[in-house]
Symmetry: C2
Subunit: 663 residues, 2 copies
């Protein structure tokens, strides 16, 4: 199947060809394949592993080092109680339907989406509109569904499109209603599936030998960071704001994982928890550095209106006009954009989509996803949410741990207020079992009520208070049990629970999208089929340099060894290909691996110690002595120069790129 | 409790002081502590996380890059069938006893060890031998057990000591016998625990929504590498030998995890699977590079004789004398030694201990552990095993996947042999249900039998064969059903299943042991209590440079910023401490973090742009202009120079190390 996605050079993206390349060159491969494979689990081979390591390394430099974040490494195993408090035990679920006929298990939102999309496609066919093998890349995640050419009412088409635009906004009951209302049937059986039920996505296990401590594999790295908040604040010498960061595996027992890296059950995440004072509008001191960055935004109101048009605006304008809630959130959205650009994501295939209200956790203030366009549609690769004070608050309430900031006030705050003192020793004997209820009612009184109490006590020697549930609902408390006074209080410190801005990266999804964004094909000289190229930026490319001796001639060996060890010393990864394939074939094999630079060692090298350097993207070559070439490589790899610069500096070499037979 | 372990500078190691430091500076901390903690789970804070990353980075350079290994990243989730085949489902267990009185769960071998050690200690006390708070650091892992001063017979002492020397060699039944024989009782209850039963150490879960695919968290990274063997060989263009490598988390549901990083339930491993042709004695082409390295070895025969004396010999000699089985195993043992030295392990606290027969898996040919001496005894930190062809063989047999190497022979092998051709079409009708059994008997015949068959066929037109279970056990097969001929066969390829040498590193244990090996204390000038120092080599130190402005004076700010960004550009991690503590205090805080270098910015800096550089270990300082100091830092961090070199090159500075009050 080919899609209407285009490659880096504007050609139609041939997904099966790309998939075959990724398998053949072992970027990744289904885990346990000799055992028949296990859905949603993938192993990374050497190039995938290296690409992943380079992305993670850049992430660490771009975020952790640049912003002095506190990196932590917390355990994946998490006891039940922690995830009960965080809400994951009760709410971290997808809606699942079952086909009563064949037992198929379907993810409800995907099922609705698939069937409606198939109907819309059938409608287009019936109307004679050319359907480009279905895929509309402006739509989100897509799975294939067979369609029949059946024309729909115009109003129905519009209704379906509106449902699809806000598919992430429905809960289980609403999805169930859609299934009934539109009579959606499982194409495999022609039967309507059962109403959606919640399926918790966490993998469960039990910790310790006596099986009495249930636990889960964490679904995100965040909770470990929250639980260590007090220690991290102490480590940071009580300075606010600050961020923690963590890179590690997380787990989600997906109902229906798909082929490829886009929905998997085990994945690498990189998450930041930036802790900020909620007072003062969550300003960020470095916001000015990013405010002029222009982004493609898809705000929630546009989606709720059933539309998907992108709006371009600077992050400064977005924050000023409240499209994005606050500066700190905006700062991280812009930093995410810069990171994705740096690793080589195609800016034209990147948008920031805001979560709709029902899509967000109830406590979240605002949330934006960086979505990358792939042949499977727009894929959420980075989430950036303002989680408010929710997490720290619930864990503090559950455990009693002080997950808060105590800030010394420059100017003490003097407050005057009515206070109630209860003589608890006398309270019990007087009110018996109702004592606590009456106490609570007194303590819950407002400043106005307290002023009135004070008067009553002075005038009558007792106060009357309404306490529902105690006697007839009215209680009298005499002045020997309670005192109400107006007092002046000096507060030298302020206590608050920080809010959390959380940029959260799915490394596998970014890696896969980057591969699609870097992919293109070039016609070969020989006229045979087109050759695949992965144009990774040198900074993330799995290997930086391929070393190719012209032949197996022994005189080349010392040059290969010297060069290879020189590059290793500079921390530049290289590989030697001394196989018997032609030079052209060896280069083109490495174009598939995304290796940006190639060095040929030939007989001229033996004579004058010069070597040629080849650029993957243009296939142009230059020739110079070894030290000059190594310096050129270093400047390209560290990003200080481009190939254009090198081409301008060094003499061109018109050599044997083509089919020189060897040996 | 203090132990008789000594620090780097020969002082007694005060373990509680070190533990307090590691907690206070957030090297690591119990996971979920605000929820009461969960045994055997630890989080790494910023310095621990960075130390771990640096160790892993060096590991990757020392092994993966240096030897062109193929790094892979496989999933932790593993389906049941894979671990059933590998033997883990049936055999990956520890022996567990239960105290019938209070329900205590005890690990049988540790229980036996603890009680016998307590008795030996009691004996020493009774004999009036000074007992240095128990710990004999030549013993392996130790836990505290109260002792009573009871004298034992000399023969009993010797018997106990012999049992302890080979404690890893007992199976469950044998441990049960020891418990009965010596009447070992749980000190907590005075009761003898139940006989040992096997407890599988894998964490179980279920993969997918229908709960029908049981799985485990992997107990080692190795299986994923074995399953990908055929793909990796293909990726390596069929070249042998080669190695794969993997860095990732593994899980073991320990019966009784202890405080600290030495026995935990979730841990980072780095594993190498080196695939080698079993033919020709497993030579290694680079063995000559390491053969003169001298190691401290504890061979299995020494242990079985109840002894623990170390023998120093070169790895070359060890392989020549068959103490170590083969060159490839020996090569990796030596490379492990070099790696541990490079990261800063104290060579005097490192030994290689060979596994005894019962301790090894039945298929292993030889296995050596690199053990590091800590205040908890000798700790296994790296295992280096020859796993023979076991893993590839069992997975190939189970799945039918060809996990083998096909090697083109330079000289074809010509073999002459008797072959049996069966005419299967006629065979069935003749022998009916016994057909397959008779066929199998024919195919199982030896060369000698076949030669006789051939004669019989020629002479009688039929052959007689014994087939137990068919008729009266004798069967006649006529010549129209079978042909037996002597043929010449030319074999152009050789097929073999590679053997695997597996160096396997427990990163957390190495990290903890390294901390103990790097720890010492120095008397402070002020005369107050001793200050702790962690003398990590610059290459693994969490932070390389501390930047300390003399005071909060604004004129220092631009110097701090410039310096900090210059170091970042060079990839050298630094931290700024501009708190109001004295310079001395700030330096000593960073000595605790193991930061090797410190820079002071003072008023002279503002005048002449010179800065001072301080060495953590000697507290000596030099002073020079910024560029010179930065160059000095770089050379120390990349290992090209030592502090001694810098001290010889640059003018000394006798400045305010001490207690200069600031602000």
């Amino acid at each position: 199947m080919s899609t209407d996605m285009t490659t880096l050079k504007g050609q139609p993206l041939d997904r099966p060809v790309l998939d075959a390349l990724l398998r053949r060159r072992l970027f990744f491969t289904p885990s346990f394949e000799i055992y028949g494979g296990t859905g949603g689990l993938f192993d990374y081979g050497p190039p995938g592993c290296s690409l992943q390591a380079n992305i993670v390394d850049l992430w660490r430099k771009h975020f952790v080092l640049e912003e002095d974040m506190l990196e932590v490494d917390c355990t994946v195993l998490t006891p039940h109680e922690v995830l009960k408090t965080s809400g994951h035990v009760d709410k971290f679920a997808d809606w699942m339907c079952k086909d009563p006929k064949n037992g198929d298990i379907l993810r409800a939102d995907h099922f609705v989406e698939d069937v409606l999309e198939a109907r819309l496609k059938g409608d287009k066919e019936a109307r004679g509109v050319k359907v480009e093998e279905v895929d509309d890349p402006t739509k989100k995640k897509k799975r294939k569904q067979k369609s029949e050419a059946v024309k729909l009412e115009d109003a129905v088409v519009q209704e379906y499109e509106e449902v699809l635009a806000k598919i992430d906004n429905y809960n289980g009951a609403e999805l169930g209603e859609l299934i009934k209302k539109y009579d959606l049937k499982n194409p495999a059986t022609g039967v309507q599936p059962s109403p959606p039920v919640a399926f918790n996505l966490m993998f469960q296990t039990s910790i310790g030998p006596s099986s009495n401590l249930p636990g889960y594999l964490r679904p995100e790295t965040a909770q470990g960071q929250f639980l260590n908040f007090a220690k991290l604040l102490e480590f940071n010498q009580q300075q606010m704001p600050f961020a923690s960061a963590s890179i590690g595996k997380s787990y989600r027992n997906e109902i229906s994982p798909r082929a490829g890296l886009l929905r998997v059950r085990e994945f690498l995440m990189a998450e930041i928890e930036h802790f900020v004072d909620p007072k003062g509008g969550k300003k960020h001191t470095k916001f000015h550095e990013v405010e002029n960055i222009e982004l493609a935004l898809l705000a929630k109101d546009v989606q709720l209106a059933g539309k998907t048009e992108l709006k371009r605006m600077t992050i400064g304008e977005a924050v000023r006009t409240k499209v994005v809630d606050n500066e700190t959130l905006g700062y991280f959205i812009a930093r995410i954009f810069l990171f994705l650009k740096k690793i080589g994501v195609d800016e034209k295939k990147l948008r920031f989509r805001q979560h709709m209200q029902n899509e967000m956790a109830h406590y979240a203030t605002d949330c934006w996803d960086a979505e990358l366009l792939t042949s499977s549609g727009w894929i959420e690769c980075v989430g950036c949410a303002d989680r408010s004070a929710y997490d720290l608050t619930v864990h503090a309430e559950k455990t009693g741990a002080p997950l808060l900031v105590r800030e010394r006030l420059d100017e003490p705050i003097i407050r005057e207020l009515w206070e109630v003192d209860i003589d608890k020793k006398k309270f019990g004997p007087q009110f018996k079992k109702d004592g606590k209820t009456v106490e609570a009612a007194l303590e819950a009184s407002t400043q106005e009520q307290r002023e009135a109490f004070s008067k009553q006590l002075a005038e009558k020697g007792a106060l009357d208070i309404e306490v529902p549930g105690v006697g007839d609902g009215k209680v009298q408390v005499s002045k020997d049990l309670v005192k109400v006074e107006f007092r002046k209080k000096v507060e030298n410190t302020r206590e608050y629970t920080p809010n959390v801005i959380e940029p959260s990266f799915g490394i596998g999804r970014i890696l896969y999208s980057l591969i699609e964004h870097s992919y293109w094909t070039r016609a070969s000289d020989g006229g045979d089929e087109a050759r695949s190229v992965l144009s990774f930026p040198p900074i993330v490319a799995p290997t930086k340099v391929l070393i190719v001796p012209l032949s197996a001639n022994k005189s080349f060996k010392p040059f290969i060894q010297k060069l290879s060890s020189k590059l290793r010393k500079l921390g530049i990864s290289s590989r030697i290909d001394d196989s018997s394939a032609t030079i052209g074939k060896r280069y083109s094999r490495n174009d598939e691996l995304g290796t940006p630079l190639g060095i040929t060692i030939d007989f001229q090298t033996v004579n004058d110690s010069t070597i040629t350097l080849r650029d993957r993207d243009s296939t142009k070559q230059v020739r110079a002595d070894e030290d000059t070439i190594v310096a050129a490589i270093q400047s390209i790899v560290d990003g200080s120069k481009s190939w254009k610069d090198i081409e301008a500096e060094l003499p061109a070499f018109e050599g044997q790129e083509a089919e020189v037979p060897v040996r």
